[in-house]
Symmetry: C2
């Protein structure tokens, strides 16, 4: 149970966290800050936070839990701003989609105090932004990856894991770099491809006409292209090396398919599509250990 959550960033992710924590009876009071005062005011009006304040430091003052829910590139400046206000036993977590850059930013901003920060990534989201869409159930059943660094104390990590589990999340622990490699493959690259695909359509004179004929396959394939631009700009830049590596794998696989298609190599093309189809049909969603333990080797 926390006495006070300092929420930095009152958007979809932050607002949903505040609502979920309240609903679980895990926090008494939520004080929120947003870079845009209109957002934190709106969050207060909607009852997502109890009090809106004008600075990140004010939100962190007296808080025993601080959640950073800002674009990842804002991590360092935000932590610098709230650092003077931190109490000795405050737990800080974030919800960013990249972790090596966030962990490094925390080191730079907090120095010796970086042990209070546990980098976290709940793998969830919506293609809508803003506190109006905050949902107390957004995190339920979500896989959360926690990425302790060499200086993260075990007790601090366990505290963070316990918060996510209390919200109904499945928790996995791994080093920040391992997280970034995996997410580049299964999340960041698909977003990049979906952005490129939408742009290639709208840049064509016939694009609007084509779009009017799109069906359910298009709908699902392109859904993630509607993601929050500021969030994804930061993710693509922060994790550009891992994404670049995945892009090279993708381009090779695409070239193989294209060659078979261009040469009407029916058998080769069939094999390549079968490989993809079998792999996708066999995917059963996030694989979770039966009792959902954090692997002991990592904690």
């Amino acid at each position: 149970m926390f006495e006070r959550l300092g929420l930095i960033g009152c958007g979809l992710m932050g607002g949903s966290f505040a609502l979920a924590l309240k609903r679980a009876g895990l926090v008494q009071r939520v004080v929120g800050y947003s870079r845009s005062p209109a957002s934190s005011r709106r969050a207060r009006e909607l009852g997502v936070i109890d009090e809106d304040v004008a600075t990140a430091a004010q939100a962190a003052t007296g808080a025993d839990l601080v959640l950073l829910a800002v674009p990842v590139a804002a991590t360092e400046s935000t932590l610098r701003a709230l650092q003077p206000a931190l109490a000795a036993d405050t737990l800080i977590m974030d919800v960013g989609s990249t972790k090596a850059d966030v962990a490094a930013a925390a080191e730079r901003a907090l120095g010796e105090r970086a042990d209070v920060f546990v980098p976290c990534h709940p793998i969830t989201g919506r293609e809508v932004a803003g506190v109006e869409h905050a949902d107390p159930h957004l995190y339920r059943g979500t896989q959360v990856i926690v990425t302790p660094t060499g200086r993260t104390p075990a007790a601090r990590l366990e505290q963070a894991v316990a918060v996510w589990r209390a919200l109904g999340c499945k928790v996995l622990s791994m080093p920040p770099a391992a997280h970034d490699a995996a997410l580049a493959a299964v999340s960041h690259l698909p977003h990049l491809l979906a952005f490129a695909f939408m742009n290639s359509l709208v840049e064509q004179a016939d694009g609007p006409s084509y779009l009017s004929m799109a069906g359910p396959g298009f709908r699902d394939f392109s859904r993630i292209a509607a993601g929050d631009p500021a969030l994804w700009r930061d993710v693509l830049i922060a994790n550009r090396e891992q994404i670049g590596a995945q892009l090279r794998h993708f381009q090779q696989a695409l070239a193989d398919l294209q060659q078979a298609m261009d040469h009407s190599s029916s058998d080769v093309l069939m094999q390549l599509i079968e490989r993809a189809s079998t792999a996708r049909a066999g995917w059963a969603g996030p694989a979770l250990a039966p009792a959902d333990p954090v692997p002991p080797s990592h904690v």
Copy 2:
């Protein structure tokens, strides 16, 4: 009302059509043929067809409506096989995802009789194949593109349009080449990209581990990669020129994003993602005319 439907290909698409036609009270008897006898037998056991026969010609004999629901590359040989059995007033339609090749195959196979054939593409499907998944509601609300050729009589086209409308479909009419250009953009290219994406993952040693961390974004983006390999092999080869043209647009858009990402050009990247995000957020599903008429200029 048709007396007899000759169903060529008793799979998901064909079986669903038979069920929908029966449910709408539009057919008295359904006679089905599949290249695999086990499929047509299974279709009969499930009540999807009333009788299973050993050849396409037998299925077409005495039929006033024939539906081709086979991979598009099988169009010509199938039409050649059933051509001798065609009655004078039989209507033949298909459900293939490409249309210029199908229309040309019909010309070659049927010659002077090609006026009985109306190329059709209902934009629907499932990531499961086989008559076991046949669903009488698969076509309800689906957009169907009919692609008459220069020799398609207006009365024949109207008859085909009436069938689809009776099943609850929205019908749009355009030349085969226009259909193929549009579908290359909004359906075939996304499938090609999804196949390449899945293959790029499974070819990596860490692929299974990465896949275990994939979330809802991956789920939707990659769903179409599970499509029927034989169907998509044929589509990719049949429409390779239009798909190649779309692939060039895509690669340019991807290169723009990649350059901004690699150079950490935050503002440029933000603009590119905003363009994609705005376009996708503004997509409202297939645009249909208020009263859903087939444009008179096309009929």
